[in-house]
Symmetry: C2
Amino acid sequence: MRSLEAYQSAINEALVTRLQSDEFAEPSGLYEPCKYILQNGGKRVRASLVLLASKMFSGSYSSAMSVALAFETFHNFTLIHDDIMDKASIRRGKPTVHTKWDENTAILSGDAVMIIAYLFFEESGTFVPQLFKLLNKTALEVCEGQQYDVDLENAALSDSIVSEPMYLKMIELKTSVLLAACLKAGAIVGGASKEDADKIYEIGRLIGIAFQLQDDVLDTYGNEQTFGKKIGGDIRVNKKTYLLIQALQSLQGAEKQQLLQLMSDSSIDETDKFNKVVALYNSVDVKSKTVAVITDYFRQAQTILDSIQIADIQKEELKTFMSELLSREY
Amino acid sequence: MRSLEAYQSAINEALVTRLQSDEFAEPSGLYEPCKYILQNGGKRVRASLVLLASKMFSGSYSSAMSVALAFETFHNFTLIHDDIMDKASIRRGKPTVHTKWDENTAILSGDAVMIIAYLFFEESGTFVPQLFKLLNKTALEVCEGQQYDVDLENAALSDSIVSEPMYLKMIELKTSVLLAACLKAGAIVGGASKEDADKIYEIGRLIGIAFQLQDDVLDTYGNEQTFGKKIGGDIRVNKKTYLLIQALQSLQGAEKQQLLQLMSDSSIDETDKFNKVVALYNSVDVKSKTVAVITDYFRQAQTILDSIQIADIQKEELKTFMSELLSREY
């Protein structure tokens, strides 16, 4: 996100400085893994959204930095524990915490990273009670989203929970609410009215869902160069994406059977499987339907942004961020 | 603790009621394990201490219940994750969460239980900022204590960290600070002055350390009937207890070598090992030295309690609690 790049170095600098504090020195067996994940790069999207929203309402973001660090730190806690659960060995090109150390270390230092997130919140002064509520609600929702993701992955394709509404609920909870809360927290610190803070939350929720749906589209229809990762991974592992759920809903008879057959055949050549699944997706316009849904989410977000009563120039950064998201190449 | 029994049913009832809320209904894959651990018995020592301290200063405890539930819930979060790390299969006579479900479920629901603890704190009204700080500090210290425990367990006996000060620091962080924070939080909600709240924290810290040291003594010198678990477990698994660390400090030459030899000999008969280790402990008065240390912690706590400027009758419950602790049979 080029629009957020301006914030990254300020966030990284503030985080490094904050973590140098004596309170995070000993025992090093606990704090080294915490610092490792927190200083291990990352785009700092969540912290940037806090700063962006704060600046949007107050013209400055200095008082929002501790809140930005809190949300970024919370996000990193989820990464440590998710990586254990997913048995992921690499994150941002480096070994994950449980790979570099071990699972017990990753569980405990993940817990500590979550507590450090709350600790950073203390520094938000008079906003503590309001932001505390927002973080609690959001944190629990993120756990719920993770559980829905597990439930979906474990469900049979014929299970009633493998549905469009459940999938949308899952990505909303797992990803969107945190982005939404970051924007809202920034707005609160920036002095926005309750109404505007709620509006910007809704914008975050909508573009967060759209972003995840885009990821699904790009994993199948993307350009490897611009998407930055290999295409076709979702189809290869039979991931229950929005595309697959749409296709299962739309396909009938022999074609639906063919899709199910392709997913249960472990001996089939990968490229062959990919091409056949994509052909079935195309036969029921899965891509264009999904792109239409994404565009609609963006349009709703845009309408809400227009209704916020601040000068247009103050909205520019968020507008740019949104249009950058929307223009990711399919 | 008979003195705390009066609080237990009120705590259990409040917790069950609170957890029946719709907000903890779905996804059940997340919330069932949370409710399982939170409603799985337990003595409710931590919640009781919050209520006791609150009553001590205000004569009532109704407004302290949400804070009591928060600390009890936080404690249960540590149990879920500790049980994974320790590979413990039974807790309070029932399968642990990771045994009844699986490790991933235990990691995620443990995270949720921690967040629920913070959520319960929201309900403490005007005390939120103050209690929030106290919980954050304490929560991070508990993680530090857990790490020091791991560090101690992994250390060679000759390592400089296997020392009395490090052991005391470990049990203070792992156990005492949470008991201390419970008392302090109750005092704050009960309207205690800052000075008195700090004093009661110190009392909790001292009796918490004493309680852990007692556990070490009882595991070797206790009466199986009254202690409630099998004697000798610590010696059998070469646990680095206060007794062992004291003995290693005091023993010299051939006797020290004999103790080290007993700990490295995996073929030795358990009873034989126990008797020989105890004989070595007795040769340097490990038991009476440790009991003297425990008594001193209690005496310090008693002196601080005496200095709190409230009517003696208000101190009765805490006094009874302390004397019950002290009189656990050696």
